[in-house]
């Protein structure tokens, strides 16, 4: 643990568990060892490998903002063996953590620009790290629009953030659902048409998007319609990873490793093979 073996995780303690939706939970966690915490830094968009000892490792982004370091957060959708085990975690349980890995949202490119965030489902997790980061350095950016959608009101994650952003005046917050329910008074509609309806200008703007593949596919088309060039669109890819450090080979696509060269890419970088393997 103390050595320089990259494969050995830090032991972290779960401080809080938030049930976001039926199958998504957010975990607040912290270093067990304060000296490790002092040394630790990361940037919005980076990910890490989380271990449940005895079950294995899984990859998630750090969903909290580097500007708010009293604890770290990650969010998990229950889907497979390890994520099911993660969902069993209680406050006080320990997990393994190694990272941060990968690249991050290109803050230098974003500085001074207008930003459009488009997130779907659990895809808001990596974006919220950056959104909070932007809010905490609000003066460095132009107009900020956040569009977030989910299948139904019950599938909306990070409701507390959505509420805070909606109430605050730092950003323009739009929330939409594919299908409403009796209690839902907000917007109903798929993300791409809603995006086109909001119609942000592409001038001096960067769009940052993350969500399920089908949403990304149509969002990219909508952004193109709005005049965004591939260079103006930033996305973060999901791919099965194991080592997280560009060795194990599985997240290799074409000439990149998602873990090492990503997960954050401009659409320009990946449009060649996005159509093919995503």
């Amino acid at each position: 643990m103390e050595g320089d073996n990259v494969y050995i995780p830090h032991v972290m303690k779960i401080e809080k568990v938030i049930q976001e939706t039926g199958n998504i939970k957010t975990f607040h966690f912290n270093f067990k060892d304060q000296s490790q915490k002092d040394k630790f830094t990361f940037k919005s968009g980076q990910f890490a490998e989380y271990s449940i000892f005895g079950e294995g490792e899984a990859t998630f982004c750090v969903s909290s903002s580097p500007t708010r370091m009293d604890h770290l957060e990650f969010s998990v959708m229950k889907a497979g063996k390890v994520t099911a085990a993660i969902h069993e975690l209680q406050e006080g349980d320990e997990i393994g953590f190694r990272g941060p890995y990968g690249n991050w949202f290109p803050l230098d490119l974003l500085q001074g620009k207008n930003l459009v965030f488009v997130g779907g489902g659990i895809g808001l997790a990596p974006l919220r790290s950056l959104i909070w980061n932007v809010i905490d350095n609000r003066d460095s950016y132009g107009d900020v629009i956040v569009l977030y959608g989910a299948r139904s009101p019950a599938d909306l994650s990070f409701k507390y953030d959505l509420e805070a952003w909606d109430k605050g005046d730092a950003i323009d917050m739009y929330t939409t659902v594919d299908r409403g329910d009796d209690a839902w008074t907000g917007r109903v509609g798929l993300i791409p048409p809603v995006l086109e309806e909001i119609g942000p200008s592409a001038q001096d703007t960067v769009a940052i998007t993350c969500g399920p593949p089908i949403m990304i596919k149509f969002t990219l088309q909508s952004l193109a319609k709005l005049g965004f060039t591939p260079e103006q669109i930033v996305t973060t890819l999901e791919m099965k990873m194991k080592c997280g450090i560009g060795k194990c080979g599985r997240c290799n696509i074409g000439n990149i490793y998602v873990c090492k060269d990503g997960p954050v890419f401009t659409y320009a970088q990946i449009q060649n093979f996005l159509s093919d393997e995503f």
């Binding site: 494969y7 050995i8 032991v11 593949p213 791919m239 060795k247 074409g254």
Partner: protein, 340 residues
């Protein structure tokens, strides 16, 4: 930098001598396949029949299963105990130039950015004694991959089979030190060196199988989405992992935990891009179709590696051609790409 030589019948004595200080590995077929194993007098006959190992040299540095650390849940929570390879130094004799080169290729990756302590530690503690090929196999195409059957810069000492004798030539400092400590060798003459050179050239000329690597990565890139081509060449592939596991440069792995939350091991094991599970995520699998997996293997080797490390991750050892149960041939696939 004086070269030395030894009579073949003296090899046993030499290995016995070397075994006293460190472990000496030589090729053997005692297990039913050819692989490196600890030297003993009973398996010293390999010079007579040895072509190359079935399981490549990488297995000695990057084993099929290796323990990474042990975790243990005590009263104070989880304790983690790193498990590193033993510090013992190893002499590996009979390394073919292609395999030595492969080791260097994957060594670059394991040392890149994040250092992989398991591989690097083993590599550090190993001395490679190469053995040039005078009689390359039918399946060899190392000459096309920037190498030669008889020559290697990636070993510490290089031997050449001169008939009754073996010629030892120094390649690295490590090798030079070892050579100076070896007893029972005699000095070689310039004649020996030039004879060795001739043998190497002859060996190089014997290689029949060739591929053209010029502009290959660009060609590969251009045909990344050529689905028809890839579907065609992958049609007979059985999706097993033989080619990747016998490949000296394939290095993909998986990480697993032993199924025990209280006290267990984290292990790493070989994995193969030929398996659908390799990239399967709970909701989707980007490489569910066979042709995508086949394409992945060649793109990783011939495009990604070349673009990122300046070298193609293939040394032309020909194992994948020989071991493939349906005779999928990398040279045909690359030639096919070049002819598109």
């Amino acid at each position: 930098m004086g070269n030395k030589k030894i009579k073949k019948d003296q090899l046993n004595t030499l290995f016995n001598e070397l075994s006293k200080d460190c472990s000496v590995l030589v090729p053997t077929r005692s297990k039913g396949y050819i692989g490196f194993d600890l030297w003993d007098e009973n398996n010293g006959d390999f010079i007579g029949w040895y072509k190359n190992t079935t399981i490549p040299l990488k297995a000695n540095f990057f084993p099929k299963v290796e323990d990474m650390f042990r975790f243990n849940k005590g009263e104070g929570g989880y304790e983690i105990k790193e498990i590193l390879p033993e510090e013992e130094s190893q002499i590996i004799f009979g390394v073919r130039p292609c395999d030595a080169r492969a080791l260097k290729i994957i060594g670059t990756l394991f040392a890149d950015t994040y250092k992989d302590p398991y591989f690097l530690k083993r590599r550090e503690n190993a001395i490679l004694i190469g053995l040039g090929c005078n009689e390359p196999c039918d399946t060899c195409f190392c000459a096309s991959m920037g190498a030669s059957p008889g020559e290697s810069q990636d070993v510490d000492l290089l031997c050449t089979d001169m008939g009754d004798e073996l010629l030892f030539e120094t390649v690295s400092k490590k090798g030079e030190d070892l050579l100076s400590n070896m007893r029972g060798l005699s000095d070689s003459s310039d004649g020996d060196s030039s004879k060795a050179k001739e043998l190497r050239e002859a060996a190089n000329n014997k290689i029949q199988r060739k591929i053209d690597t010029s502009n290959l990565k660009e060609k590969m890139r251009a045909n990344f989405e050529n689905r028809e081509y890839w579907e065609n060449v992958s049609m007979k592939c059985m999706s097993c992992g033989i080619c990747t596991y016998v490949c000296p440069t394939c290095h993909c792995f998986d990480i697993h935990d032993e199924n025990n939350k209280k006290d267990g091991l984290r292990v790493r094991n070989w994995d193969s891009c030929k398996f659908p599970l390799f990239t399967r995520m709970p909701m989707e699998n980007p490489r569910h179709e066979k042709w995508r997996r086949v394409r992945q293997r060649y793109h990783h080797k011939f495009e990604y590696y070349d673009m990122n490390f300046g070298v193609i991750a293939c040394t032309g050892c020909g194992r994948c051609i020989r071991e493939c149960p349906v005779n999928v041939d990398v040279t045909q696939i690359i030639t096919g790409i070049q002819s598109l």
